[in-house]
């Protein structure tokens, strides 16, 4: 939090304060103090299935807020959608289920507004690191509520990859040339940086999302060397599942969802968090600055973070709730699923996961020499060639 400069927050907060629509009477800090009557409608920009009818229908029935969905394919899509019609959701969208690589872009771009977490009763039950994470909370101001998360793990074919890998070094190893897959996402540079943090301490990397020019170039050149070893940069989950099923690849970076799907299909695969730790993604329902239905939006944030709904959504999408009270409900739907999705882990488990956040020029120690997301994006195009 100290990394973000006060000036930006002040400007952002001021802009937000001026624009909070009538969600209950505004109090001193401009935040609503109670959830008013529903507006009958709720427009979401979401990851596909983030308002799956299996749990959303009950919400519609209870609140009368009819849900209109706009599915986004990538984080960039989400940001672009929020910025149509003059930004802030264009007066059309209420909530966006932004991942950590998009959320700060939305906050700094002035596209989202502060949220009063006291109106979300489940918030106090969240795993502590998801209450005010750096990717959705700036200087103590919340711009939404965390909803679900997942780690980026190392997946390998147990028959083809021997001995079992323990380090991310495996996906940079020439031994598996033409048999490796990683996500097609600029944030992959952070995975390389995380590996370099441990394997090349001389670079002095402390946070894989805050890289100065030298550290950044080292990560990029590692990924350029990796390119000839890659079979395919995967873009969708079924993409990666097919690659592993057909034997086109034997090792790669993945999300737990793909691993569980492959294991359910009896593919000989295993996943792990290597000794360097891992990156992870965490999604936040963020409130659009020009949200036309703020009351329904608050009701939705309240509803999706309740343990029962968290459990249902986790199993529909293949991810992990931020509310540990969802554990027994997950097990009720699918035996042992709470443990499978690592919701029963101690805090030390979460500490080894570096959650996605948008790279911005402001580094720690008040320096401004870090590479921003544009640079990441450009480098990624060059890496893929």
């Amino acid at each position: 939090m100290r990394r973000i400069r006060k000036r930006h927050v002040l400007v952002a907060a001021l802009a937000m304060a001026l624009c909070v629509p009538a969600a209950g009477a505004g109090s001193g800090n401009g935040l609503p103090t109670k959830i008013g009557k529903g507006e009958g409608s709720l427009n979401l920009i979401e990851w596909p299935a983030y308002s799956d009818p299996s749990f959303a229908n009950k919400f519609v029935k209870e609140t009368g807020c009819k849900i209109h969905r706009k599915d986004a394919g990538t984080s960039n899509d989400m940001v672009a959608l929020m910025r149509t019609g003059g930004g802030g959701g264009g007066g059309q969208y209420d909530l966006v289920s932004a991942s950590g690589d998009a959320s700060l872009r939305l906050i700094y771009g002035g596209d989202v507004q502060p949220v009063n977490v006291n109106l979300i009763p489940s918030w106090k039950d969240f795993i502590s690191i998801f209450k005010s994470p750096a990717h959705n909370t700036v200087n103590g101001v919340h711009y939404g509520v965390s909803v679900q998360w997942g780690p980026n793990t190392l997946l390998y074919n147990t028959k083809k990859v021997k001995p079992a890998p323990t380090s991310w070094a495996a996906i940079y190893n020439k031994k598996y040339k033409g048999k490796i897959t990683v996500p097609d996402n600029p944030i992959q540079i952070a995975d390389a940086a995380l590996y370099l943090e441990k394997s090349k301490p001389s670079l002095g990397i402390t946070d894989p999302y805050e890289l100065n020019k030298t550290q950044f170039n080292a990560a990029v050149s590692l990924l350029k060397q990796q390119r000839p070893l890659i079979k395919k940069y995967w873009t969708t989950e079924p993409d990666e599942i097919n690659l592993f099923k057909s034997g086109d690849v034997v090792i790669g970076a993945t999300w737990p969802y793909q691993t569980l799907q492959l294991q359910a299909a009896h593919a000989p695969v295993k996943e792990l968090i290597p000794k360097e730790g891992a990156t992870g993604w965490a999604d936040t329902w963020m409130l659009a600055k020009k949200a036309p239905h703020p009351n329904c939006a608050y009701m939705w944030m309240k509803y999706v973070t309740t343990p029962q709904v968290e459990a249902k959504q986790a199993l529909v999408f293949g991810e992990t709730p931020v509310n540990p009270k969802a554990c027994p409900y997950m097990n009720k739907i699918q035996a042992d699923s709470c443990a499978k999705y690592h919701l029963n882990q101690p805090l030390s488990y979460y500490k080894q996961i570096h959650f996605w956040k948008t790279p911005v020029p402001q580094c720690g120690n008040g320096k401004n020499n870090c590479m921003d997301y544009n640079a990441w994006q450009q480098a990624w195009t060059q890496i893929k060639g």
């Binding site: 990538t74 960039n76 899509d77 940001v79 672009a80 910025r83 872009r105 700094y108 771009g109 002035g110 033409g178 390119r227 000839p228 890659i230 079979k231 395919k232 940069y233 873009t235 097919n242 057909s246 034997g247 086109d248 921003d372 997301y373 544009n374 994006q377 195009t381 060059q382 893929k384 060639g385």
Partner: protein, 305 residues
């Protein structure tokens, strides 16, 4: 009442007659009336959007706010043509190279097929072949590309067949895979113009050639090929431009290092709304196609369309 109605009807008819008479007296009025709607549509929708594309390629985007900055600069083009980092030049060269390879492949495949359909096959066989050439176009383009993924997979149909003779091809998710899939999906667009141009060659030319003592090969080289060339060039406009502008095939069957111009444009429009850079890169295929069409016109392709 009825008289009034009849009078009104006759006056409407009279107006119509006067209008048509004035069109007859002044044909240029008729021409203008007929051409104005398509010309306006063409100017606004086509030329207009191309100009906007070209103009916006000289602007930039503020990386922090994602807003357009209307300041004239060549920085987008400098980045594309930079030699210290030839990523974009490499992507452009790959796109053009594969488009050319696909065009040549399709021409080689389409010529004998078109020849057989136009000059050898009986009418019933010809209709059957037509249906078979056009049949793939009845299903979605996306379905056909996904089908090729299943064929080319490591454990796909191709390797299953090759496995019978102890072979294994590892071409899924490579530029070779893209070449095969592109050649397949655009083949009908080459077959049809080639067929049309071959069909138009009068039989007596070939008989005259034979009477003058030319063997089959000589007739092919001196009579058939020159007369069919406009058809091949017309087909190549389709195969070349369709490949040049595609981004879905590279996304689905390409591997690492298979990006096309279209993929970079797609990514830049999605990312930080960097439309100016996307516009700058998108002008390259427009330029290439302009040159290509000029060359095609000289080869007589437009008479064969």
């Amino acid at each position: 009442m009825s008289v009034d109605a009849a009078r009104a009807g006759s006056s409407v008819r009279g107006a119509r007659l006067r209008l048509s008479a004035s069109f007859w007296r002044r044909p240029w009025v008729k021409a203008i009336a007929l051409l104005t709607p398509p010309v306006i549509a063409f100017l606004i929708i086509y030329v207009g959007s191309l100009s906007v594309l070209f103009i916006s390629s000289f602007w930039t985007v503020d990386s922090f706010t994602g807003k357009l900055e209307h300041v004239w600069t060549l920085s987008n083009f400098k980045l594309i043509f930079s030699t210290s980092d030839p990523t974009y030049l490499r992507i452009a060269a790959r796109t053009i190279g594969i488009a050319a390879a696909v065009t040549v492949t399709d021409a080689i495949l389409a010529f004998p097929l078109g020849y057989f359909m136009a000059r050898i096959a009986r009418p019933r066989t010809r209709s059957l072949l037509f249906v078979m050439v056009l049949l793939p176009l009845w299903s979605s383009y996306l379905v056909r590309i996904y089908a090729w993924r299943l064929i080319l997979d490591n454990e796909g149909a191709l390797n299953w067949v090759l496995g019978g003779v102890g072979l294994h091809l590892n071409i899924a998710y490579t530029n070779w895979a893209m070449w095969i899939v592109f050649s397949y999906v655009w083949l009908p667009f080459m077959v049809l113009p080639v067929y049309a141009s071959l069909e138009r060659i009068p039989d007596n030319y070939l008989e005259a050639s034979g009477d003058l003592g030319a063997a089959g090969w000589r007739t092919f080289r001196s009579i058939i090929l020159p007369l069919a060339l406009p058809g091949v060039v017309a087909g190549s406009i389709f195969t070349f431009s369709l490949t040049l502008g595609d981004y879905i095939t590279p996304l689905l069957v390409g591997g690492a290092g298979s990006n096309f111009i279209g993929n970079v444009v797609f990514e830049n429009v999605g990312v930080n709304a960097n439309v100016p850079f996307a516009a700058a890169f998108a002008t390259i295929p427009v330029m290439i196609m302009a040159l290509y069409l000029l060359a095609a016109r000289r080869l007589g392709a437009f008479e064969a369309l």
